[in-house]
Point group: C2
Chain length 147, copies 2
């Protein structure tokens, strides 16, 4: 099992705005993908659609301003059985996001791509909270021939 | 042991410019850090300095337009004993960079940070080759309170 790990710091006085951006359809649509639907409550399913495909996430844990967990319910074959774990804590002027996409079977080339892709979306989340404007799909930054 | 993996695609007709940016002091200084010195030949040591510290890389393998390997000779404690492996191949209009920072002892918070940081510098490398302008330290993109 291999994991994708990231850490970003978002300049904001409390984790509240970041938590909102991770747990509401409106927030998620503003940094990950325009085409977001579903429910962000525990037990709910969030449906994310991209020009190249989509993923459904079951929300398995919510601790306000501290933790968000998703289980991949449907999506790319390599994502089935993986989980996404968002940890938040405040450090001075920054909300620190510790991100883990855990449980990949193999470090395949697609996993390399997803690492870079998540990093780019985390920068979009940072920009959304700091400036009010993210770069969700389909207006996301091109990182390669795989978009 | 855990690894940082990334994949970027750089729009350029051959891997030549990317290879140049990974193996010459001038090229490295234009996307990673302004303060780059040393020798990019096999057995040589490249010295990279940042406002927050530095790292020395021994060049252990070069295969023109295909592969570059570095061994961390000196740097952050967590980096000692790790290696950097750059794989290049052409896919249509893109040079694909498969990046691995291998051999971390533990998935510590600093490793999460370095994953995001490498992603940001890989985007700087992409920008350098595609537009002629990268974002090396100290003009790099801020990703957190750890810069």
């Amino acid at each position: 099992m291999v994991d994708i790990l990231h850490r970003v710091g978002i300049k904001t006085p409390t984790p509240e705005k970041v938590y909102h951006a991770l747990t509401t359809v409106e927030g998620l649509a503003a940094w990950w993908t325009d085409d977001t639907k579903g429910s962000g409550d525990v037990g709910g399913v969030l449906e994310f659609r991209f020009p190249s495909g989509g993923v459904d996430m079951e929300v398995t844990e919510l601790r306000p301003s501290e933790r968000v967990r998703w289980r991949v319910a449907d999506g790319p074959e390599e994502w089935i059985g993986t989980t996404i774990n968002w940890g938040l804590h405040q450090s001075g002027d920054y909300t620190i996001v510790l991100f883990k996409h855990e449980g990949w079977q193999e470090p395949v080339e697609f996993m390399h791509h997803c690492t870079t892709r998540w990093g780019s979306y985390l920068m979009s989340l940072k920009s959304l909270v700091e400036t009010g404007e993210g770069a969700p799909a389909p207006r996301d930054v091109e990182i390669s021939d795989w978009q």
